[in-house]
Structure formats: C-alpha cells, structure tokens
C-alpha cells in the first residue's frame, strides 16, 4: 500500500485505536495497578481517604498457618478444576469419538452444547432441584432402589463433588466441539491404509487417532483446567458462600465474598492476586507445553 504516506497512516491508525486504547487503560491497566495497591491496604471500598496502608499484612494473613485460604479453599479450587476437567474430558472423548461416525452429527453436537449457552443461574437452580433431598429426582431414584436418600449439598464430604458433577456436565459441550474439529482434521486415508493392513478399531484408535489428536487434547485439557481454576459462579448460585463450612468454597468465590459480602477489599484483592499468579504460572507452563506438543502458532 505505497500510495499512502506512512505518517498519514499512523495518524489514521491511532485515531481508530483511541477508543480501544482508552478502554483498556481505564478498565484493564488502571484496575490491575489499583487492585495491587488495594491488596496492600485495609479498606472497605468506600472513599479513598479511608484506605489504610498495611504493607504485606494481607498476604501474610493468606499464607498464615491457620489460614483457610490455602486449605481448604485453594485445595478445593484445584480439586474442582481437576474434577470438572476429568469428568467433561472423559465424557467428551467418548461422545466426540462416537458422533463423528454417526448421522446428524451437528444435532448431537448442539444438544451436548446446550448447557454452555444457558445462564448459570438456570443451571444452578435446576440442579438444586435435582439434588433436592426430599423431592429431587436423584433421591427419588436412590430410594426407589432401596437406598437411603443423600443430602448432596449439605454433606461436607459430598457437596464439593456434587458441584463438580454439574460443572463437568456443563463443560462437555465445549470439549466435544473442539475434539470433533480435531478428529475431522485427521486424514481419512490413514484409517483406510490401516484397515487394509488389518488393524482393528482399537488398534487404529491407539495408533492413529490418539497420537494425531494429541495437540487438540492438550489444548482442551489445559484451557479448561485454567477455566476451572477461575470459575465460581456455579458455586455461588448453588451454595452461596461455599458451604457447608468451606467444603465447596473456591478461591475466586472467597475473594468475591470477602469483598462484596464482608467488605474486606484489601484481603480480597490480595487473594485475587495470589490466585492470578497461580493461574499465570499455569498459563506459562501451557505455552511451553503447547510449543513442544505441536499446537501450531503458539
């Protein structure tokens, strides 16, 4: 595009970019700095004069030996992310493997994706009803086969897994979408050649499908794990404060409640930063793994 002067082009580019850059300064750059400043203070979120600088006290509180943030909350966060990813991944591998050889592929894919385009408020409330100890369907099934009803969300040793099950169910559709795209990218010739050589279905799966799908699998696993570490809306809708006790509490939910239920903006911001650093480290590991694992253009 030589017909156009570089200076004129620069002026044009920046005048188009001004609204975007302004937005990012106001709602991204300033907030990150501001958030770090808040994490060094004691503050209820009212006027700025009421901020008291306390240095690293909030971080010390978080890492203190009696802190609930490391255990159980951060442990729960990892269990939640691992559990949801494992559930949705295993289901999605099965579903995507099957639907690529069935008719109405698009229909099946859409059905499995429905929860992902539904507001979490609906998902959470409907599952509360399904888990209901007196008249939910799950307990109806349990009692009809002679088992005792289970208080899914009131029992501290089950509650976290009850939320994880919903989160895993929710994540199947997204993983199916990406995995089917990956499966379609494997050339059909490979399977034909393998059939001619007499390789059976399982042999083909382990020698062709899995190795060639590896980059896609890595992508699905790591991005949904990072998503799982950040997620808290479902837990908020289903258990409100992460109860009973802290048995379902996760990092981002604790941050949210510390700030907006208890008015401890300093501690909450420190928690946000700790969780952010954890996620940032995992994102960096992801980038390295992807480069080595052959996910293109990372």
């Amino acid at each position: 595009m030589k017909s156009f002067g570089l200076r004129k082009e620069t002026v044009l580019a920046y005048s188009f970019l001004i609204p975007i850059l302004l937005f990012y300064i106001i709602f991204l750059v300033i907030p990150v700095v501001f958030s770090f400043v808040i994490s060094l203070t004691e503050w209820g979120g009212f006027d700025l004069e009421s901020m008291t600088f306390v240095g690293l006290d909030n971080y010390k509180k978080i890492f203190a030996s009696d802190s609930t943030f490391l255990n159980p909350i951060l442990t729960n966060t990892f269990v939640f992310a691992f559990g949801s990813v494992a559930l949705s991944f295993i289901a999605a591998m099965t579903v995507s493997f099957l639907i690529t050889r069935l008719r109405w592929q698009g229909l099946w894919r859409s059905i499995y994706f429905l929860p992902a385009v539904t507001t979490i408020v609906a998902i959470g409330n409907v599952w509360l009803y399904i888990y209901n100890p007196t008249n939910g369907i799950l307990n109806e099934i349990l009692t009809s086969v002679g088992l005792k009803p289970v208080n899914f969300l009131d029992n501290p040793s089950i509650a976290l897994w009850a939320v994880i099950a919903v989160s895993g169910w929710l994540g199947i559709g997204g993983a199916v979408l990406i995995l089917t795209a990956g499966l379609k990218g494997i050339p059909h010739d490979y399977y034909e050649a393998a059939s001619l050589e007499g390789a059976g279905m399982w042999r083909q799966y382990f020698s062709i499908t899995l190795p060639l799908l590896r980059p896609t699998i890595l992508f699905v696993l790591i991005t949904s794990f990072i998503g799982g570490l950040q997620s808290f809306t479902l837990t908020l809708v289903m258990t409100r404060t992460g109860g009973p006790g802290n048995s379902t509490n996760v990092g981002a939910l604790e941050m949210y409640n510390q700030a907006f239920s208890f008015g401890n903006w300093g501690v909450a911001s420190a928690m946000a930063f700790v969780l952010f650093v954890v996620i940032f480290i995992i994102t960096m590991i992801q980038l390295i793994v992807f480069r080595k694992g052959g996910v293109e253009s990372y």
Binding site: I38, Y112, W127, I130, L177
Partner: protein
C-alpha cells in the same frame, strides 16, 4: 460384518448421554407448570398433575419480568453493537495499516485474553461507581449516585471492547486482498468510507459469529450484573432478577415462579442458538485454534 454392530451401540450411548444433557431442561420446563404445593410435596414426578399456567402470569408480576427482559435485551444489544464496532475497527487497523507500535499493540490485545475476569470485579466496581462526571459525580468521581451504574451504561461500558473480538476480526480481515483498499484510495474514497463501505460488508460472516457469541455471552453474564444491581436495582437483568427473587421470598411458594422465570430467560436464547449454531460453532473453533 463387524462394522455394522458398532453404530447400534453408538446410538445407544449417545442417546443415554442426550437424556442426561436434556433432562435438566425438561425438569425446569415441567416444574414451571407445577403448583407450589405439588412442587414441595414429598414425591418427585417429572410431569405436573395439572398444568398451572398461572405461574407465568405471576412470574411477570412478582419478578417484574418485563423490566428484567427489557434490561437484558438493551444490555445484550448494546454490548453486541459496541463490540462489533470496536472489534472491526481494531481488527482492520491491526490487519491492514502500517504504523509504529503495531506489533506491541497486537501483543497487548492478545495478552488481555489471559487476564482472569475475577481480577477485575473489585477495581472495576470502584471505577464504574466513581466514574468522573457521570451519574452526578464530580471530576474526582465523588458525590454522585452511582456513576456509570446510575444508568444502563454501568452494565454495558465495561464490556465494550473484547480482545477475542479484535483478534477474530484481525484474522478475518488479513485475508482480504489489499487491492480493494488501494483501488478505493486511488478513486479518492475517504478512510471512513473505505472502512464502512468496503471492509465491513466483506466481514459479515465474521461479524455474525462475533455477534451471536457476544449476545449470548452478555445475556447470560451474571456476576457483574449482580454487582451493578447492588448499586442500582433498576439495572437487574433476567438472571439477576430471578436469583434475587429466590433469596427474598419463601422458597416453597416461589420455586415454580423461579422456574417459570428461568424458562423465559433461557428458552429464547436456546432457540436462537439452535438456529444460529453454525456461526457460534465457528467462533468457538476460532477460539480453539487461535
């Protein structure tokens, strides 16, 4: 024939899966027609004894559903339009113009996608409520009645730019031949005209993907809308209004109403998704292969 047996079992597995995926939606729809007494009685049944359509009428009254619906529509449309505009502008500049700092800005836009949303709730809540010179605030952002959150702007402005959107549009516009732009310039077309009359019409498929993506995303967004509602309860969207009602009233009386509200909040969006899923899926794929 060994191969012929496989599809039969495959269909069975997929159908069982389908039931697990769809059942919660059926449960939601059918229980929205149950009477309060049936809803809270001891034994579960999927179908209501009698269909109580009154739940929907009462939901409209008690939930102020029409206000919630209006807020949700205005918010989702406004965010979608703003994101389409900013993404295509940003995408065009980053794809087709040469200027110093381009690489740096592009890297910055990419990196914005790595920041988790929870990091911004606290600072952006303060910034939105104390935004200078709006909602009665003075130039220091003080003295007003909610800043940006005094109006719908509080629900919309913090979502006006999307890093994903800019990236998607840049990738798409990169594939447009430079010759279109060059010949328009030779013909003396102004830069705004080149953008709006030549580039934009060629990006319609990408815009459609981004639009459906943003519309559904902002329709379903909950946490920020909940925070804005705590500043100004005129700003309640469908998910927020329904969740709030749930916590304020006697749950045994209102549960079927809540379900009726949820049906209204979700079913239109699900139908929209089913019609436009081709575009939506394309957006997801792009996200997956960025």
């Amino acid at each position: 024939m060994k191969l012929k047996r496989i599809p039969w079992i495959s269909y069975l597995v997929i159908l069982i899966g389908t039931v697990i995926m769809i059942f919660p939606f059926l449960d939601m729809i059918f229980s929205s027609f149950k009477s309060a007494s049936e809803y809270s009685k001891l034994n579960y049944s999927l179908l209501p004894e009698t269909f109580v359509f009154d739940n929907y009428r009462m939901a409209f009254e008690q939930l102020k559903l029409s206000m919630l619906f209006k807020n949700s529509i205005i918010r989702s449309l406004a965010i979608t339009l703003l994101v389409l505009l900013t993404s295509s502008l940003g995408g065009y500049v980053l794809a087709k113009l040469r200027f110093p700092g381009k690489k740096l800005i592009f890297r910055f836009v990419l990196s914005t996608m790595m920041f988790p949303a929870f990091l911004f709730f606290i600072p952006n809540y303060y910034i939105t409520v104390h935004f200078p010179l709006v909602g009665g605030n003075n130039i220091f952002g003080e003295g007003g009645y909610g800043g940006l959150a005094a109006s719908m702007a509080g629900l919309i402005v913090p979502f006006a730019v999307s890093g994903f959107g800019i990236f998607l549009m840049r990738q798409f516009i990169m594939n447009i031949e430079d010759a279109y732009i060059e010949s328009a310039r030779i013909d003396g077309a102004g830069e705004l005209r080149i953008f709006f009359q030549i580039i934009l019409p060629m990006t319609v498929p990408a815009l459609a993907t981004l639009a459906i993506f943003e519309f559904i995303g902002s329709w379903n967004e909950f946490i920020w809308a909940l925070l804005m509602n705590s500043v100004n309860n005129e700003l309640a969207t469908l998910p927020v209004g329904i969740q709030m009602l749930k916590s304020h009233l006697d749950p045994t009386l209102t549960q079927p109403l809540v379900m009726a509200g949820l049906v209204i909040a979700t079913i239109p969006i699900l139908i929209l998704f089913l019609f436009l899923q081709k575009y939506y899926v394309r957006g997801m794929m792009n996200d997956g292969l960025k």
